[in-house]
């Protein structure tokens, strides 16, 4: 489910389109908002100007924002706005907007001699052609506000206008039964103590439209999906959030025992919402699930036996401990991290740095280097790639703004990109915040090396600063609004940034990674998207997120412990099979949400089942796809591309495609590489056809390898029948081989790997 608050690359959220807001102004006719106190009862067709002077900042700007004039697709479009008329995005820069209105366009946007003839009014009300359509009815109070302001001399009151302190939403939380409604009221609070009801001028947006929708007037309509939903209320650059829980209201009479704080928080939430959890999964399911999630591979039959056949009450925990000790854990998670750290092969000469960097990540995970230390070594890397591999990150991420944006998004879960050009529309981040953060990277010095495109990195002595490109203000380093103690010219500011990040009180650092890891195991982050942490995108289970954060910090930023505490919880071990009540649950983890195996894991799994091994150029035979150091193998292995292995170009995990597609189905069914694996000499089908074991044993072994379980009686008899039936031809007349021939086994394996049970972790 996409989050409408999230930054979706390449398209603007619908809520910001001119069309989406078209009706806003039209319905405002009889509406009185904060400024309505200035008006008398207005004739239907000719609004009068207010009797009290109109504030440009507090009255005019909200009208322009609500009407959508300053949205990104209209007059706040990059560079020149729309047809030469430019406004700041969402009205964050009133002073600039005033200049644009009053002085640009040869001054014809405002007519002081004949205010009603002002282009701003005649265009917005459709009296003259306007490509954006009618934005304000001539009869509306908003129209009257603009007219009144012009009649009043179109003054700019930026320095003197009463300062808007906050925006409040009433109520700010509540419980919404399914299909119920709730009217929200937006209250603007000003520095002089006054308050205004600005509901009609505020913008409302739901973070989960499948759970609740909100009208432009703030009327919330709950849907049937249970869970927690938030409505963001925006007004004049400030935001507030209404949080609602939509209970399912079913009887929760059976809750698995709690194994710790995760279970406490998760099951408590389910109880509150009335969502009964699925039961704990069986041992075989758990072993397959956790092996895929922790080590990125299928379990061996020996591993299955070690748990399924054991009576040890701690057998699952013991198994998890072994997985975490394995190098496959490090391989799998290094694969995850290096993609986001952009370990990308652009040139043949990148190979050494890419291998070194991948290995550094992998070895750090293997030795369980504390996460804060790992990030510190990366952030403040100096030297050469050979002697200090995290330097390679600075080879891939060369520009200062790219560095700050990647660090903020990856390690802090904050998307700062917007604030480069304008105040963040959903958050408090300003351009000053952006460039103050950039200042941490202002003293990264570079010296060329003998490898083209590769530099040595060092701290370049000097006071770290960065200039706000809009205001020219020279800013010292500050970390997301937190000022940092004075950094001398000799001190590497990146070390100060690392200190700030690893401070146990840091509100972002631990939260970002525990949320990211939670998503790894549960498919959906407690905050989702996982790298968009902000007040207006609250967690679905705040207590659980806080518990994870606290536990992670207390463990000394121990990543293996983080994984352990998650996968040993009963919350993780719930069955993926929904019960009668929880099938609609998408965000409360009342069951395990199945996941399609990612490209590398799927390829390795097919290799494991077929007994083939994918050959990767210049790597040792037997190298698994999850252990590939960079993206350069994608081209030569179409399977990886088809199943969405990323090209390591983005810091966002969303670059990996996890959705299913027709191409994937066709590839699994028909592609030459898959067929070749099935027919590999000495492969599984070949060996099984030659085996002297009873056919039932052979089929059972296949099922255990592919699914981590034995076949049912029906599956077993069906498979044995097929394998042993006399020679026959398929529908097209092609012989399907002799009984128990390799071809028969190939067919059976082909059928197994094309099942959802195989393709998904469940």
């Amino acid at each position: 489910m996409s989050n409408p608050f999230s930054l979706q690359y390449g398209s603007a959220p619908k809520g910001d389109s001119c069309q989406g807001i078209l009706g806003h102004a039209l319905v405002a006719l009889a509406f009185c908002i904060g400024i309505s106190c200035f008006y008398g009862r207005l004739p239907a067709n000719e609004p009068k100007s207010p009797s009290v002077s109109v504030s440009f900042v507090n009255d005019v700007m909200p009208v322009l924002t609500k009407a959508g004039c300053n949205s990104g697709v209209c007059h706040a479009k990059a560079v020149n706005g729309q047809n030469g008329f430019r406004l700041s995005l969402l009205g964050f820069e009133p002073q600039d907007d005033y200049v644009h209105l009053l002085k640009e366009g040869r001054g014809r946007r405002l007519s002081m001699a004949s205010p009603a003839s002002s282009l701003i009014l005649s265009k917005a009300s459709g009296q003259v052609p306007h490509r954006g359509g009618v934005r304000l009815s001539k009869e509306s109070t908003e129209y009257a506000t603009l007219l009144g302001w012009i009649r009043d001399g179109a003054k700019y009151d930026g320095p003197t206008a009463t300062k808007l302190l906050s925006i409040q939403v009433q109520p700010d939380r509540g419980t919404l039964p399914p299909k119920s409604q709730q009217q929200l009221t937006a209250i603007a609070v000003y520095a002089d103590g006054t308050q205004r009801d600005v509901t009609k001028l505020a913008l409302f947006e739901s973070n989960e439209k499948s759970m609740a929708e909100v009208s432009e007037h703030g009327l919330v309509q709950a849907m049937e999906l249970p869970g927690r939903v938030s409505i963001m209320v925006r007004y004049q650059g400030l935001v507030s959030v209404y949080s609602a829980s939509i209970p399912l209201g079913a009887m929760v009479d059976s809750i698995p025992a709690s194994k710790g704080f995760i279970d406490d928080a998760l099951f408590s939430n389910l109880k509150e919402l009335g969502i009964p959890p699925s039961p704990i999964c069986d041992d075989a399911t758990f072993v397959r699930r956790v092996t895929l999630d922790v080590a990125g591979r299928l379990p061996t039959t020996q591993e299955l036996d070690s748990v399924v056949g054991s009576t040890d009450p701690n057998k699952r925990d013991t198994f998890v401990a072994k997985l975490l000790q394995s190098s496959e854990y490090a391989d799998f998670f290094a694969n995850k991290w290096t993609a986001m750290l952009k370990n990308r092969r652009d040139d043949a000469s990148d190979i050494t740095s890419n291998f070194a960097f991948y290995s550094w990540v992998r070895d750090s995970l293997l030795q369980n280097k504390p996460y804060d230390q790992m990030v510190r070594e990366l952030l403040a890397a100096t030297g050469t790639v050979q002697s200090n591999p995290p330097v390679a990150w600075y080879k891939r991420v060369k520009e200062q703004k790219q560095q700050l944006e990647d660090v903020a998004q990856l390690f802090l879960g904050v998307r700062m990109q917007c604030a480069q050009c304008h105040h963040h529309p959903f958050e408090k981040w300003s351009q000053d915040d952006y460039y103050s953060f950039a200042a941490f990277f202002s003293q990264v010095g570079r010296k060329p090396t003998s490898t083209r495109g590769e530099d040595m990195i060092f701290h370049k002595r000097g006071i770290a600063t960065a200039a706000n490109i809009k205001t020219g203000t020279v800013l010292k380093p500050a970390a997301l609004g937190t000022s940092i103690d004075s950094i001398t010219a000799d001190q590497d500011p990146r070390l100060h940034l690392a200190n700030w990040m690893s401070d146990p009180k840091n509100p972002f650092f631990a939260k970002a990674v525990v949320n990211r890891y939670w998503k790894h195991f549960f498919r959906r982050g407690l905050i989702d998207p996982e790298d968009d942490i902000r007040d207006t995108n609250p967690p679905s289970n705040p207590e659980l997120l806080a518990g994870l954060e606290k536990h992670f910090i207390a463990s000394g930023f121990d990543l293996k412990e983080l994984v352990r505490v998650i996968v040993t919880s009963n919350a993780y071990q719930l069955s993926s099979v929904p019960n009668q009540s929880n099938s609609a649950d998408q965000q409360n983890y009342s069951r395990y949400y199945h996941k399609r195996l990612q490209a590398e894991v799927l390829l390795d799994s097919i290799d494991d089942v077929t007994g083939a091994r994918t050959d990767f150029q210049n790597l040792p035979t037997g190298t698994r796809a999850v252990a590939l150091p960079d993206n350069s193998y994608n081209n030569a292995t179409p399977f990886l591309k088809v199943f969405g292995r990323p090209e390591n170009e983005s810091v966002c995990e969303c670059e990996r495609t996890q959705s299913s597609s027709l191409a994937q189905s066709l590839h699994l069914m028909n592609a030459g590489d898959v067929k070749a694996k099935l027919a590999t000499a000495g492969g599984r089908a070949d060996l099984m056809s030659k085996s002297q074991k009873p056919m039932e044993e052979r089929v059972t072994e296949l099922y255990r390898i592919a699914f981590g379980r034995s076949p049912s009686a029906a599956e077993l008899s069906g498979a044995v029948d097929y394998l042993t039936e006399p020679s026959s031809a398929d529908a097209s007349g092609v012989s399907v081989g002799q009984p128990a021939s390799p071809e028969r086994f190939q067919d059976l394996i082909w059928a197994l790997i094309n099942t959802k049970e195989f393709l998904f972790n469940h």
């Binding site: 910001d16 100096t382 050979q386 304008h422 003998s450 210049n618």
Partner: protein
């Protein structure tokens, strides 16, 4: 798929502002050479490339097999220490087995690294490192690229192995719980191309500890029983060039980690200053940071370490106005991956309220000549004589207290006590250090070559060594270059390093009738400093491997010991160019001098002209000129006025690149081979203009 370029702000429509970017790389590629010829770069020279094993124990005899490039008719295997002697191996029938030698290492031969070379039909070869050790020497005798074929090794041994491409070598040893083991894989430091990854694993091959930076792996076993050492190349390359010596030792828990011998980088030629004691006089005393500076008196010579991470060592001293001190720091030149930086500040104000005013910041030692920038065209040698270390001057502006802050610009997050440094603050002791290497230059389709080049002269050849100087403590005078110990028929002339400059040339010419010879040369540079004639050894540098195209492989230059020279008459130099008259040419300042040149071709060449340039004594300013390839006689005209040559004697040479139709054997097909051609040195004595 999301590219960073696509990751636009979703709140703003970028359609208007989006610009169409042209790919500069694509254009460059399209504009590149349309035809890549099969041309070779430089005439064959003998190169010793591999030895197996790569070392031996003190007091032992070891059988060594060699391979190399252009090693026809190998006669001898030579070492640069008299305690290591080789003789050709004979089979049971008394016949010599090609390329196999029995090497005797004397009992008194010190451990360390030595240079091995062979003498072949084409002369003396390039060098390969031979290690002398005290550990038990083992040799990989069968493939050990799987768990089941792991090679058994013992503690306190060194195994000589060659890495197979796309493979991991497995070694098995019996560990004892609580015992400490150290594994070191010598590779780059003994001329191998291997970037080693060393892993200690349990008996099933599961990784326990990993070292990927070519450093030691220090491991204490947590249980008894078989363990594995896995070795592979960082990017899984392999082949004969990827050899290694795997040191495996047991150490006491409190022992200091050993430091294994390694070849020295080219930058190290400028270290140590002449006469410097092996050990520093004093040492840093931690804590000596910003809040508690360490008091020192000048001059000083102290050692220290960039430890722990982001270490800042601060030293405080008193000085008088106008005093000048020279500061030299070595750390990178000691083989550490560091980048020292110094900041000197004047301390003012009351104690506890001090204010610091910057006086000087000292950073790198610049390369004496611009090194290659890895571009397509030749723009400098792939030798970098500079260093991240420090060699600079402090002039103190007033009487008072000063603080010198020493940091490692690469040390922000790294904690390694072995990142040592030595800092010397001294009164000016003018001096110089010299290094030389075989000349590389712009060559048609061969600009990016970085070849190891032994001084194996063909009869009639003139070769050039590029000599560079790091000047110390303000020394700014001429440096004369001289080769001693030349055999008969070989002459050498140094084109001096002029005052204030850092580059000179040494030309070595074998006369066409020079007898076959082998000699160890003594290469020195000399200068007058404080009215004293001072001579300094020139340290030679060479590439570990011949790299025809450094676009695909990064050259690995290093310092080499000794300078052997050979002359062969098996095949002549393809071309010789010399002034018709080898006497010093007399000329008057401001005049034009015509120098008749004689070109002797001994094989066919491509093209019809040669574009000649000059080097030596300011002649680099001479505009290039062409001579005919088809004429035996041509001439060079030098306008002394335009070159502004004042009265005096000038030595120089012309040089060019030519494409020879070279045949490796008389009956072999010819191969276009681009080669550097240098004239014999030419001297002009410029006399003052006679008064009118």
């Amino acid at each position: 798929m999301i590219s960073s370029a696509q990751a636009k702000c979703p709140f703003i429509d970028h359609t208007r502002s989006r610009c169409i970017a042209l790919s500069a790389m694509l254009l460059m590629w399209a504009a590149g050479p349309a035809i890549l010829s099969a041309q070779s770069v430089c005439l064959p020279l003998p190169r010793l490339l591999t030895m197996m094993p790569m070392g031996g124990s003190v007091g032992s005899q070891v059988e060594i097999a060699i391979t190399g490039e252009h090693l026809d008719e190998v006669k001898e295997l030579l070492f640069n220490h008299p305690g290591i002697v080789a003789k050709a191996k004979q089979n049971d029938a008394g016949q010599i087995e090609p390329n196999k030698f029995l090497v005797q290492i004397s009992a008194d031969c010190p451990t360390g690294l030595y240079e091995a070379r062979v003498l072949s039909r084409l002369g003396i070869s390039s060098s390969r490192i031979f290690s002398v050790d005290t550990l038990l020497e083992l040799k990989q005798t069968a493939p050990n690229t799987s768990l089941s074929t792991a090679m058994e090794i013992q503690v306190n041994s060194v195994t000589n192995s060659v890495m197979t491409a796309r493979s991991i070598d497995f070694y098995r040893f019996m560990a004892q719980k609580g015992h400490r083991y150290v594994v070191e894989c010598s590779s780059r430091g003994i001329d191998s191309k291997l970037d080693p990854v060393v892993i200690i694993a349990d008996s099933q091959g599961r990784d326990l500890a990993v070292e990927r930076r070519g450093d030691l792996l220090d491991f204490t076993a947590s249980q008894d029983g078989p363990h594995l050492i896995k070795v592979h190349e960082l990017t899984f390359k392999g082949g004969p060039a990827y050899f290694y010596r795997l040191h495996f030792q047991e150490l006491a828990a409190d022992s200091v980690l050993p430091r294994f011998a390694s070849t020295r980088s080219v930058s190290a030629f400028s270290w140590p200053p002449t006469g410097l004691p092996a050990k520093a006089i004093s040492a840093e005393l931690e804590p000596n940071g910003v809040s508690v500076p360490q008091q020192i008196a000048l001059p000083c010579d102290l050692s220290g370490s960039f430890y722990p991470a982001a270490d800042v060592d601060v030293f405080e001293f008193s000085a008088r106005k106008g005093e000048t001190w020279w500061v030299e720091v070595a750390s990178e030149r000691l083989g550490r991956p560091t980048d020292p930086a110094i900041l000197v500040q004047h301390v003012t104000g009351e104690p506890g309220k001090e204010q610091l005013v910057d006086v000087v910041e000292l950073l790198d030692i610049p390369s004496p000549v611009k090194p290659s920038s890895n571009g397509y065209a030749y723009d400098g040698p792939a030798y970098d004589g500079g260093s991240p270390d420090i060699l600079g001057k402090i002039t103190l502006p007033q009487d008072g207290v000063y603080r010198l802050q020493l940091t490692d610009l690469f040390g922000g997050t790294r904690k390694d006590l072995r990142n040592e440094y030595r800092m010397i603050i001294r009164k000016a002791a003018p001096d110089f250090a010299l290094a030389a290497w075989s000349l590389h230059m712009e060559l048609r389709n061969g600009d990016r070559n970085a070849l190891s080049k032994p001084l194996a002269l063909r009869a009639g050849a003139t070769v050039a060594l590029e000599v560079v100087a790091v000047r110390r403590d303000g020394f700014d005078g001429d440096i004369q270059l001289q080769l001693n110990g030349l055999p008969n028929g070989v002459s050498a002339q140094g084109l001096k390093i002029p005052a204030g400059k850092s580059r000179g040339i040494m030309l070595v010419t074998a006369q066409y009738d020079a007898p076959v010879a082998l000699a160890n040369l003594d290469f020195v540079g000399s200068a007058t400093i404080d009215n004293q004639l001072v001579s300094r050894q020139v340290q030679m540098a060479d590439f570990a491997w011949p790299i025809p195209d450094s676009w695909g492989e990064i050259p690995a230059p290093r310092l080499v010991s000794g300078l052997p020279l050979s002359v062969t008459n098996h095949e002549p130099a393809p071309m010789s160019i010399a002034a018709q008259d080898r006497k010093v040419i007399e000329a008057t300042a401001g005049s034009k001098v015509t120098i008749p040149l004689v070109l002797t071709k001994r094989m066919d060449f491509s093209g019809s002209t040669l574009q000649m340039k000059a080097f030596g004594d300011g002649m680099e300013r001479l505009p290039p000129f062409n001579i005919s390839l088809d004429a035996a006689n041509s001439e060079a005209v030098i306008d002394l006025a335009s070159l502004q040559l004042t009265p005096g004697e000038y030595s120089f040479a012309f040089y060019t690149g030519a494409v020879a139709k070279y045949r490796i054997k008389p009956d072999a097909p010819s191969q276009d081979t681009v080669e550097i051609v240098i004239t014999e040195p030419i001297s002009i004595r410029v006399k003052p203009m006679e008064p009118k």
